[in-house]
């Protein structure tokens, strides 16, 4: 398996930032009450990760080890500011919907984590690719959470997609069912924790099944019991 395949596997599944590293839980749980919000923040985070990993990797040989963290933070803060201003200019409604979570990307542990753990030790191309894949993995988890919570909570899918993608995207909104009473919990924060728990459990179950399948059949040693077991 070459390096890039490994990066894809790590970012999307094995070391997924949302499901395995459990980093960036604050935006993960905070904005995923609809698929649109989740996708918006997911794309933004992906863009931030891609850019910061590239820049950090570029400057990695010029930054003294002692002050690398402040330098990384400055890089990340500048990139996030740029993205925030871009969203403010071109996606104003989404900008308002996401609110504080856009500037909060500066403090997102995934971004600084990847800068420190990968980008500062690897060449530009793998570092950028790692940023892209980690960002994609995070965005996928966000979208899964957002979709599940939106379907359960409001009975729609992709409501408000036009905020993100422009007016044509109104056709993307699917009304699955119209309930008299919304299942509010799914939209409220506790619902995010519950759905997230089920997602992680689901991933672990898939992993466990795969591990059980891959395990070679061990030779069974049978022993005769010599001691009496009292009930």
């Amino acid at each position: 398996m070459n390096q890039y395949q490994e990066i894809v596997r790590q970012g999307l599944w094995k070391n997924n930032p949302g499901l395995v590293q459990l980093l960036g839980l604050c935006p993960l749980l905070g904005v995923t009450n609809s698929l649109t919000n989740a996708l918006g923040l997911g794309l933004a985070t992906m863009l931030v990760l891609l850019s910061t990993n590239t820049v950090v990797s570029l400057v990695r040989n010029y930054v003294p080890n002692e002050i690398r963290i402040p330098v990384f933070v400055m890089v990340i803060a500048s990139v996030v500011t740029v993205i925030e201003l871009l969203m403010h200019a071109f996606l104003f409604n989404l900008y308002q919907a996401l609110g504080i979570f856009i500037p909060l990307m500066v403090t997102n542990c995934i971004v600084i984590g990847r800068a420190e753990a990968y980008a500062s030790k690897n060449a530009v191309l793998p570092a950028a690719f790692d940023g892209l894949m980690m960002g994609t993995g995070f965005a996928l988890v966000l979208c899964a959470l957002g979709a599940i919570r939106e379907v359960i909570g409001s009975g729609t899918l992709f409501a408000g997609a036009d905020l993100l993608l422009g007016d044509w995207a109104k056709v993307l909104t699917i009304h699955l069912y119209q309930a008299d009473h919304q299942f509010l919990l799914a939209i409220l924060p506790p619902g995010a924790f519950l759905v997230m728990g089920f997602l992680i459990a689901g991933k672990n179950a898939v992993d466990a099944r795969a591990a059980a399948k891959a395990k070679p059949v061990e030779q069974k040693i049978s022993r005769a019991r010599v001691t009496h077991v009292s009930s």
């Binding site: 008299d180 009473h181 509010l184």
Partner: protein, 354 residues
């Protein structure tokens, strides 16, 4: 010859879980009967729905976890959870409410934490909170007690209302709740809270028809019936006196203090004791052997905490009644309480004693 070495306690009553749970269910019967009399036969339908859901969910999860289904089902713990939830939700709530709640209680709150004995939270109360937070409107749509109801509601209406949202004569739940002037009648605790927030005094509010002798019309008798059931449980030694006494005592003393200071803006202590879910919660819910504290001193602390929280939320919180929230908050503190109230082991000295 082999000697069995068993850990303490060495002497215990020989009752099994199933017997204890059956006694709890039996003790709730008078309360349920009075509730059915005052608040309609809907409660019986809710009970049936809840029990069916609980047993099937429990069986399904046990099958998934490859456990012995029959043994575990027959310990009746799912039955008691279903019972407590069914009597806690409004009698005429739509059928899916109790089904969602019971399924959540059994699958998520109980079985995902490891089944009976391992759940951190009281399943029935966690489910109640889920429903209350998710569906506030149907969860607070209690009909007024039968004597003050404007429209007569028959046994068949309960079936119609629960399954179709409308009574057989075509009234919706919110219409059934209205008095002759077309104003919705809320539960006594809700009415009192609203009135106090609008500047009425407690005495003025208590003149409304939803209030009866000592507390709400009908609610007093429901609470009295659950009190009797609770005393039966005490007499049978299914529960110990500490939690109920601590809950009722602290609720009583808090409300007595508030009432003495400002009788116009606070309900009387006896009103608090015989309103809402007080007796049901003190004897049947807070005493859950799994999620409550297990030490003697801890149970007193646990009960006092619940009583104080209930008083605080009832008086200053956003909800008229508070037992579900109070019990869940107190459940969270149980590991800490148990840690600090470990009793002295026989043969050992107290910490700090020389």
């Amino acid at each position: 010859m082999s000697f069995k070495i068993a850990s303490s306690p060495h002497q215990h009553s020989q009752k099994t879980t199933a017997q204890l749970m059956k006694l709890v269910a039996l003790a709730a019967v008078p309360g349920i009967a009075v509730q059915a009399y005052f608040f309609g036969y809907g409660v019986l339908i809710q009970l049936v729905l809840a029990i069916i859901t609980a047993l099937s969910c429990e069986a399904a999860v046990l099958a998934l976890r490859s456990k012995k289904i029959k043994v575990k089902l027959l310990d009746h713990s799912a039955l008691v959870t279903a019972l407590l939830l069914a009597v806690a939700i409004p009698s005429y709530a739509p059928w899916w409410l109790v089904v969602i709640g019971t399924a959540f209680a059994i699958v998520v709150v109980k079985q995902l934490y490891g089944g009976l004995g391992n759940n951190l939270f009281n399943p029935a109360m966690a489910a109640y909170v889920l429903l209350l937070v998710s569906f506030p409107l149907p969860m607070t749509s209690w009909l007024p007690a039968a004597p003050v109801q404007n429209l007569a509601v028959g046994p068949l209406d309960a079936v119609c209302t629960i399954f179709t949202d409308f009574s057989c004569t075509g009234y919706s739940v919110s219409q059934l709740r209205q008095d002759a002037d077309g104003v919705s009648m809320a539960t006594p605790l809700d009415t009192l809270k609203t009135d106090l927030s609008q500047g009425y005094t407690a005495a003025e509010s208590l003149k409304k028809p939803v209030f009866g002798w000592l507390s709400g019309e009908g609610w007093f008798w429901v609470n009295l019936a659950y009190l009797l059931g609770g005393l039966f449980l005490l007499q049978q030694k299914v529960i110990q006196w500490r939690i109920p006494v601590a809950v009722l005592g602290s609720l009583f003393s808090c409300s007595l203090l508030a009432w003495l200071i400002s009788p116009d803006t606070n309900a009387s202590p006896l009103f608090q004791l015989f309103s809402g879910a007080t007796m049901l919660a003190a004897f049947f819910i807070a005493t859950d052997p799994v999620s409550a504290s297990t030490t003697e001193k801890g149970r007193l602390i646990f009960g006092v905490l619940i009583g104080v929280l209930v008083f605080l939320i009832r008086s200053y919180g956003g909800y008229p009644d508070a037992f579900a929230f109070a019990v869940m908050l107190a459940n969270m503190t149980v590991p800490l309480i148990d840690y600090y109230t470990q009793p002295r082991t026989y043969g050992h000295k107290n910490k700090g004693a020389r």
